[in-house]
């Protein structure tokens, strides 16, 4: 019977196909690439994930896939060493000239990165461990950081200084932030507990807040406020309006995204003031509602954000402090830029 034979062929063929494909895959050699060392010092970095990475410094070519570190590299006058970036690394605008090699750390174009042969790849924690392993297999050192907390930002600045041979400038940048953080800490430490206002912090959506162990929670405490959402079981809880009304927040802070300008910030402000559930609260009835851009929420400029918050929470204690002037100086000293745009709403009087 011919059909029987055919049946056999039809049965075996696909299996054979799969087998062949699979076996050719298995026979691939493991790649162990090694960069040639050219008289540079090899330094060991412990990155934000606690991983030890050896890199010969100073590096010449950097691919940076996280905006928080890109702005630090720029501040250290090392943007010229960046040969690749992610699509969100657009502050300062000069960075836009650098080729994009990833939408974000989540989706790096491994081929483009490996082909450009950088001395180091820098990413944030959205980089999958598998992808990190792929880059390392190709012989590229990978550093992963987050810049949500001030201490993380300081660590990144210090390590970027060592990486690029700009230790002195890095120390200056850290000193700039430290000076203001210390000032806030010292003054807040002298305040009695009952003088600290109850803060409702809202991030990207109405009634979405941040609980314990979040950067926002720490920053509220730093600037001398009491986070109403602290102690919630969920890290980023959605609060019910009536519970919030019952807690009677004295100050409301709402974050707006980096791209949003003055118009959008004003719209957010008006929307919060018009929420029926919050009408009776101290914050709304006294119009103590402030909108702040994410640009001042993380990374280098979060110290400016903290200065604003401290002044909002305790206007008398911080009456001599001008956050906008500090912002202007930071931009001038480290970014060679003038202060432009709206970063907080309503603007300080």
């Amino acid at each position: 019977m011919g059909s029987k034979k055919n049946r056999f062929v039809a049965r075996v063929l696909p299996l054979l196909m799969l087998l062949i494909i699979f076996l050719t895959g298995c026979s691939s050699p493991k790649n162990a690439a090694q960069n040639g060392l050219t008289g540079k010092t090899v330094k060991t970095f412990v990155d934000g994930t606690g991983k030890e990475v050896k890199i010969s410094c100073p590096v010449d070519k950097i691919v940076c896939l996280t905006s928080g570190v890109s702005e630090i590299l720029y501040a250290l006058d090392s943007a010229d060493k960046m040969i690749g970036r992610d699509s969100y690394s657009i502050f300062p605008a000069d960075l836009e000239k650098i080729p994009v090699m990833a939408k974000s750390s989540f989706s790096p174009n491994l081929e483009a990165i490996i082909k450009s042969a950088p001395d180091v790849v820098i990413a944030d924690t959205m980089l999958k461990d598998d992808l990190r392993a792929k880059l390392e297999e190709a012989g590229l050192p990978v550093l992963v950081y987050t810049t949500s907390y001030p201490h993380e930002t300081a660590l990144v600045v210090k390590q970027m200084g060592e990486l690029t041979g700009k230790e002195e400038r890095a120390a200056k940048l850290i000193a700039f932030s430290d000076k203001y953080y210390q000032l806030i800490k010292d003054r807040v430490a002298r305040l009695p507990e009952d003088k600290k206002p109850r803060i409702y912090y809202e991030w990207n959506k109405p009634y979405y807040s941040a609980g314990d162990k979040t950067p926002a929670n720490d920053r509220i405490a730093l600037s001398g406020g009491k986070n109403l959402a602290a102690g919630q079981k969920v890290k980023y809880p959605e609060l019910t309006p009536e519970w919030l009304a019952g807690q009677n927040p004295q100050i409301i802070i709402r974050m707006s995204s980096r791209e949003e300008g003055a118009d959008k910030m004003k719209a957010l402000y008006d929307e919060i003031l018009s929420r029926p559930a919050l009408q009776q609260t101290t914050a709304v009835s006294q119009k103590k509602v402030s909108i702040m851009s994410w640009g001042l929420g993380t990374g280098i400029r979060s110290v400016i954000g903290s200065l604003h918050w401290a002044k909002w929470f305790h206007p008398d204690t911080f009456s001599d402090i001008d956050p906008e002037a500090a912002h202007r100086q930071l931009l001038k000293d480290f970014y060679h830029m003038e202060l432009k745009g709206t970063w907080v709403y309503p603007p300080a009087k």
Binding site: R11, L15, M17, G25, E111, A133, K134, A138, K213
Partner: protein
């Protein structure tokens, strides 16, 4: 074997036999051609990418990888070898395997439910599997980063459990009342919503580190494909496909109607149970490594039916090959079309699949089963 001679008739005339043999050889030829097409697409997928490797380098690397000589260090440039062997090859093989499995699962579901709209994605099986895997991640049953084989199988098992649960709910609904094919799809969509709600809840409740892993995992995709995952996925899929393929004759009989199949001695209950288990296993194991990729399981079997007809002995392998080709092409497009930025592969499969699905909805379903 026994059934094959039963269905084939006891003493066909010579002319009939010749006709049948011609038909059969035509189908086998199609499958061979599809296999060759798959190899060609695999070649294209390995050759294209943002690193712009020249075909000459590509050929050197290919020769180096295929030849048994250990001196492969010198073949091709280092960049070409890294990119092709470490980046493109595992990814292309994962796409092949995933496309194959999803299409096989789709063909099986369409067969046992006698429903042209069946597909692991549409029926909510993928969503169920995704919930199962997410649960395993949050409970810390298997750390998805840094797979060892055992941990990987734990996540697959959890995905499989919930994928199977979804399948049996769908199957139960289908057998409880004689539901119209479209209604079954609605039930699948509802199940899908239920399981994604479950995933949202998991996200909401999980801690920072779990959340990171869960989010990364849920975003899915074929990038970062590893040999370990292939080693894990390959035997599972091969076994499940072989298992399903064995029931080809029963499926053929079922295609002629439940009563016909029962009269021919097909154990319908067992066929459906086995088919559901096999299809769920295929879909769940795939989802564990690639995240949810829609519509491959719908489109491939229909193309297969168009090329080789509805004889499942040929339909299942043809669908698998087509599924592999489809997903491989989709992924290659996803990698290259907006280079250097990648677009999610699910976007491409949906762009192909949704119009296809809609056209099926509006066509009489009879046509596909004649």
């Amino acid at each position: 074997m026994m059934r094959s001679s039963l269905a084939g008739g006891n003493a066909p005339g010579k002319a009939e036999r010749d006709f049948y043999a011609r038909l059969t050889s035509h189908k086998i030829l199609t499958i061979i051609l599809l296999s060759l097409a798959l190899l060609a697409v695999l070649g294209i997928a390995l050759g294209l990418g943002s690193a712009n490797i020249s075909w000459e380098d590509f050929w050197q690397v290919f020769k180096g990888a295929v030849s048994p000589a250990p001196a492969s260090q010198e073949t091709g440039s280092k960049l070409a070898r890294t990119v092709i062997i470490n980046l493109r090859l595992p990814r292309a093989l994962l796409a092949t395997l995933a496309g194959c499995s999803l299409a096989g699962a789709g063909a099986m579901m369409q067969g046992i439910l006698r429903n042209p709209l069946a597909d692991p994605y549409i029926l909510g099986i993928s969503a169920g599997a995704s919930f199962g895997a997410a649960l395993a991640v949050v409970l810390g049953l298997g750390k998805l980063a840094g797979f060892t084989l055992a941990q990987g199988y734990v996540v697959v098992a959890s995905a499989f459990t919930f994928g199977l649960l979804a399948t049996f709910i769908i199957y139960g609904l289908a057998s409880l009342r004689a539901l119209a094919p479209e209604t079954l799809v609605l039930a699948g969509v509802a199940l899908g919503y239920l399981f994604s709600a479950g995933v949202s809840l998991l996200k909401y409740l999980s801690s920072h580190e779990e959340l990171r892993e869960l989010t990364l995992w849920l975003m899915g995709g074929l990038a970062g494909a590893k040999w370990q995952s292939l080693f894990l996925l390959f035997p599972v899929c091969l076994a499940a496909l072989a298992f399903l393929w064995r029931s080809s004759w029963d499926l053929n009989a079922l295609g002629a109607g439940e009563e016909v199949a029962a009269n021919l001695g097909v154990n319908l209950g067992r066929l459906r149970r086995n088919g559901a288990v096999g299809a769920s296993l295929l879909a769940s194991a795939t989802v564990t490594f690639t995240g949810i990729i829609g519509f491959v399981g719908l489109v491939a079997p229909h193309l297969g039916r168009f090329l080789v007809g509805s004889d499942h002995r040929y339909l299942i392998p043809a669908s698998c090959l087509l599924g592999a080709i489809l997903l491989l092409l989709a992924d290659t497009l996803a990698r290259t079309v907006a280079s250097p930025i990648e677009i999610p592969v699910g976007v491409i499969t949906s762009l192909i699949g949704v119009p296809f699905f809609l056209s099926l909805l509006f066509r009489e379903r009879r046509r596909w089963w004649s």
